[in-house]
């Protein structure tokens, strides 16, 4: 039996690893997106006292490797009495970590906004919440989509780190198969193919979003 046939027989393991990676990735980027928008909303708020600690938090996160944060949640938190399983710690760490990156991307784009637009909205009686959700957020998301797409690919790649804290995802599947049958080359080529397929799909989706945003006139502000 050739090595590829062994892998084909074990396709269930790849598939469950793939689904688990997709699940972790999907949940954590939704979480990261919400956290990013929340941080942006807080930064947007009038409370100046809050801005400084938030910026320090975001910049601090951006200087930390993702694995250190995952370690902190998985190995560190039990010493203060909070116990998370590997999966929960992994998804939580991904969401917080990439949420901070999202917030920074949003903030960078927010700085380029003409102040007249906001003033006009305020003059028309938009409340703070409406101004944020109807005007700022859609424009910011549509304008930053190439950067967001890049960040999503980084988030996908960071899911592989979770193999180190024993989460069973795609890389873990390849690792266990390669150690069971001693066929590392083929197993990892398959897994790299999976990752490649996910990120190519994401790039295509981001491009489609570009068409949508051109149609709705988000790009010529």
């Amino acid at each position: 039996m050739s090595n590829w046939e062994i892998l084909w027989d074990e396709r269930a393991q790849f598939w469950s690893g793939f689904l688990s990676t997709l699940e972790i990735f999907g949940l954590s980027i939704v979480g990261a997106f919400v956290i990013g928008c929340g941080l942006l909303y807080l930064l947007e708020g009038s409370r100046k006292r809050l801005t400084m600690p938030l910026r320090i938090f975001i910049d601090g996160m951006r200087m930390l490797p993702f694995l250190i944060l995952a370690y902190l949640l998985y190995y560190g938190l039990p010493s203060v009495g909070i116990r998370l399983d590997a999966w929960g710690a992994g998804v939580g760490a991904l969401a917080v970590y990439h949420g901070c990156y999202f917030a920074e991307i949003f903030r960078g784009n927010r700085l380029t906004f003409p102040p007249g637009q906001i003033e006009a909205a305020q003059a028309h009686g938009f409340t703070k919440g409406k101004l944020f959700f109807r005007l700022l957020l859609p424009q910011i998301i549509m304008q930053t989509r190439p950067l967001l797409g890049n960040q999503l690919i980084y988030a996908l790649k960071d899911t592989a780190f979770l193999v180190i804290i024993t989460v069973g995802e795609l890389t873990a599947a390849a690792n266990s198969l390669s150690s069971t049958y001693f066929i590392p080359t083929e197993a990892f080529i398959v897994v790299i193919g999976f990752y490649w397929a996910i990120s190519v799909t994401m790039e295509i989706i981001i491009k489609q979003c570009g068409r949508f945003s051109a149609k709705r006139g988000f790009d010529n502000v």
């Binding site: 993702f66 790649k157 080359t185 190519v200």
Partner: protein
């Protein structure tokens, strides 16, 4: 944490720094070479390089490190851990650096190359004297950004058994049963390393601005 724990942490930091530094040094140069080859648009090689950049950008470092380390014996290569780690980091960062260099090439002003040609400079002299100095300055922010991404990705090499700054925290907590302090110190050390990098970039930019380019 006692003195030996601190010692281990510093040793781990040193491992992270030297492996990252070697990968960065190779990756920046190799990225430039790939960008130059892609400019030449040689039929099959060009497509292969596009494929390489696309796959390398999508492959997680952990997966790549495991792949290289575990399948090297299969392919008849005898790699030790450090070399495999450096190879993984380099393959990854080269793809990103190639894109950064290529966009610097694309945005280079045509007038200057034409002026250089008109004054009788050979392509090599034009590249060496006119293009490269300016491209280094314009792509420096992107390159430094990629360098900090590489350092943040470097814990991936812990998976093949290199005792880097992240892995060392496990070893310490295996002795002390207190995982929190070494992880926090490791985090602070990473911040210091990346902070140094950003500071060096600022210094380099200030020098570049003094050259008035």
């Amino acid at each position: 944490m006692n003195a030996s724990a601190w010692n281990m942490l510093l040793e781990g930091a040193w491992t992270t720094v030297w492996i990252s530094a070697v990968s960065i040094a190779i990756g920046v140069v190799a990225g430039l070479v790939i960008a130059l080859i892609r400019l030449a648009r040689i039929p099959i090689i060009d497509q292969l390089l596009v494929l390489y950049v696309s796959v390398a950008r999508a492959t997680p470092l952990v997966t790549l490190a495991l792949f290289i380390f575990l399948s090297a014996p299969d392919l008849g290569l005898d790699l030790n851990r450090s070399v495999a780690g450096i190879l993984a980091l380099t393959l990854n960062t080269t793809a990103f650096n190639a894109e950064i260099w290529r966009s610097a090439f694309r945005n280079f002003s045509r007038e200057q190359s034409e002026a250089a040609m008109a004054t009788g400079m050979t392509p090599w002299v034009t590249f060496r004297r006119i293009m490269l100095p300016q491209m280094v300055i314009t792509s420096l922010p992107g390159l430094v950004n990629e360098m900090s991404f590489l350092i943040k990705g470097s814990p991936a090499i812990a998976v093949i058994g290199i005792v880097d700054l992240t892995r060392v925290t496990n070893r310490i907590s295996a002795v002390t049963y207190e995982p929190l302090p070494p992880i926090l110190v490791a985090g602070a050390l990473y911040m210091a390393i990346i902070g140094c990098l950003v500071w060096l970039q600022r210094l380099a930019e200030r020098r570049a601005n003094r050259l008035a380019m």
